[in-house]
């Protein structure tokens, strides 16, 4: 790519030894960063520099590095997954920044996502919400019914699939001024509620998942819509409305 060039940047990164320590912002200068590199590759480059200087490298979450696993996070320059729209941090490239830029890198901030070290937070609260009802109970004795044997209206299947695109990264919680997890839970509730297989347990599912969400210490949704804008998978607020509906009907049943 002909437009590749190298830039020099200043990084202001949250450093925190462990969950109990008090963290602070540290400043680093990083030169010769290729604009073709991803944000995580840039952090790799910084860590190499830190290791060469015999300093502790910056801890951050990452896994697939192709935008589908939901492992990477980072609040970059005041936005979840950085300034680009509908991408995870691993798919954010340094061409989004200019030579001489100062870039703030912070962990997700939420009572329910405590910092483990540096930029890594504990997102197991999402796992516990999922375990509270984000599944369909299927008999796996060997006589399972083929999923395609149950007809699903195309429109519902599409909405369900869009909700299932949620990778559980937590950007919704991180960008919400209330630290609410309703986009995540709304997507997980919707994904099943829209399908005939999921309708069987719909009532318990929404009640249990919402209860678990509240117990984890997430805030209350006030419909600011920040989550939908910052979601790397474009999960729609429609899913929160669907959860609100499901919850209302489940509560009066």
């Amino acid at each position: 790519m002909g437009s590749n060039k190298n830039i020099n940047i200043n990084l202001k990164i949250w450093r925190q030894k462990d969950a109990k320590s008090k963290g602070q912002i540290e400043t680093y200068k990083l030169d010769n960063v290729s604009t073709a590199s991803s944000f995580l590759e840039m952090l790799d480059q910084l860590n190499e520099q830190l290791i060469n200087e015999r300093k502790e490298p910056v801890a951050f979450d990452h896994d697939c590095r192709e935008g589908i696993c939901g492992m990477c996070s980072l609040y970059i320059n005041g936005q979840a997954h950085g300034p680009a729209s509908k991408v995870t941090t691993c798919q954010l490239h340094m061409r989004s920044f200019k030579d001489g830029d100062t870039i703030y890198v912070e962990p997700w901030r939420s009572k329910a996502f405590p910092v483990i070290k540096d930029l890594i937070v504990d997102r197991s609260a999402f796992d516990r919400i999922q375990q509270a009802g984000g599944f369909v109970s299927v008999n796996t004795s060997g006589r399972t019914i083929d999923a395609n044997a149950t007809p699903v209206p195309k429109h519902d299947a599409d909405r369900s699939f869009e909700a299932a695109a949620c990778i559980g990264c937590g950007a919704c919680v991180a960008s919400c001024k209330n630290g609410s997890a309703m986009l995540f839970v709304g997507a997980k509730v919707s994904q099943y509620a829209l399908l005939p297989q999921g309708k069987v347990e719909a009532t318990q599912r929404v009640l249990n998942m919402v209860r678990q969400m509240d117990e984890e210490g997430f805030g209350n949704c006030t419909n600011t819509g920040a989550c939908e804008v910052e979601c790397p998978k474009g999960i729609s607020l429609e899913n929160i409305a669907r959860m609100n509906r499901e919850y209302l009907f489940a509560s009066v049943k």
Binding site: K12, W14, I25, Y75, N77, G78, Q79, P83, Y104, E106, R109, S110, K111, A112, V115, S175, K177, N178, G179, S180, M182, T203, Q204, L207, N208, V210, R211, M213, D214, G217, F218, G219, N220, C221, T222, N223, T224, G225, A226, V229, E230, L237, E238, I240, A241, R242, M243, N244, R245, E246, Y247, L248, A250, S251
Partner: protein, 279 residues
């Protein structure tokens, strides 16, 4: 069977906020339609307004609605305080660098501040008008000036459409009891009832030589704040109640924005008209 925490769950708080908020939108509409009578240029404008005020303070159906309104305001405010406190706790460590303007509108992020200003406005507004209407012993009664044989004479207007000469009250033949009732002083029997002159105190409030302009400006500012509150709140209520459908979202949004602009604007026109244009 899972139990629903219907009264205290995060989603239930949304329902309460939405239901009370939408009810208050209905109240605003009704209140506005009533208040718009203050813009009337008819010579009976004051009488019509005071008749309307009497109806609004005595009709039993209106009474039920007004109690629902008080309860809604209180619930809406308490729910808002609970939300604000809990939501602040949900993020104990704040971001060093945050750009919320990139993903949300200002009104959506500041509903608590806007709501608090509106609550202060409601309290002062009720002290200025509602409390006087209900409790003020010095509340004036509606009078009318009639030209009797070349000499203009003041009469009290009574609820049966009759008149009582002010002179008779001033001279003590008729006395006023219980703020609005006319009694024959000799026989001590109630003969007629007058109208509290809410029109007069409303006009006087915004035309006070010293503070009239200030009150008018504060009223207009409060309506701007209300407009921002509604700008987020109206559409938000539908989302909270689960009414989000691509088919109707455009309509709800447009209607909400129109409501948020038109209703506060018309409210604000009234004191401005009174202050600058009523003689």
């Amino acid at each position: 069977m899972a139990k629903s925490a219907f009264l205290k769950s995060s989603i239930a708080k949304k329902y309460w906020m939405a239901l009370t908020g939408l009810f208050l939108c209905l109240f605003l509409t009704g209140h506005l339609l009533g208040n718009l009578q203050l813009l009337s240029t008819s010579k009976d404008a004051a009488l019509h307004f005071n008749q309307y005020a009497l109806f609004m303070t005595t009709n039993p159906a209106v009474k039920i609605l007004s109690y629902l309104t008080y309860i809604s305001i209180i619930f809406h405010a308490i729910d808002g305080i609970v939300l604000t406190v809990q939501n602040r706790k949900a993020r104990p460590v704040r971001y060093v660098m945050n750009k919320p303007g990139k993903n949300t509108i200002w009104a959506s992020r500041n509903m608590a501040v806007l709501g608090t200003i509106i609550l202060v406005f409601i309290v002062t507004h009720m002290v200025s008008f509602w409390a006087r209407m209900h409790f003020d012993k010095a509340m004036p009664l509606q009078t009318i000036s009639i030209n009797a044989g070349g000499m203009p004479q003041e009469f009290y207007v009574t609820t049966d459409g009759g008149y009582i000469p002010k002179m008779q009250v001033d001279q003590g033949q008729i006395k006023i009891e219980n703020r609005t009732e006319f009694y024959d002083a000799g026989a001590n029997v109630k003969i007629k009832e007058g109208y509290k002159d809410l029109y007069k105190i409303t006009v006087a409030f915004f035309k006070q030589p010293q503070y009239g302009l200030l009150y008018t400006i504060l009223y207009v500012i409060s309506m701007v704040v209300l407009g921002f509150h509604l700008y987020h709140g109206f559409g938000s209520a539908f989302q909270s109640l689960g009414a989000n459908n691509p088919k109707y979202n455009g309509l709800i949004k447009t209607f909400g924005y129109a409501f948020a602009i038109i209703v506060p604007l018309l409210f604000a026109v009234i004191p401005v008209y009174i202050h600058f244009f009523i003689k």
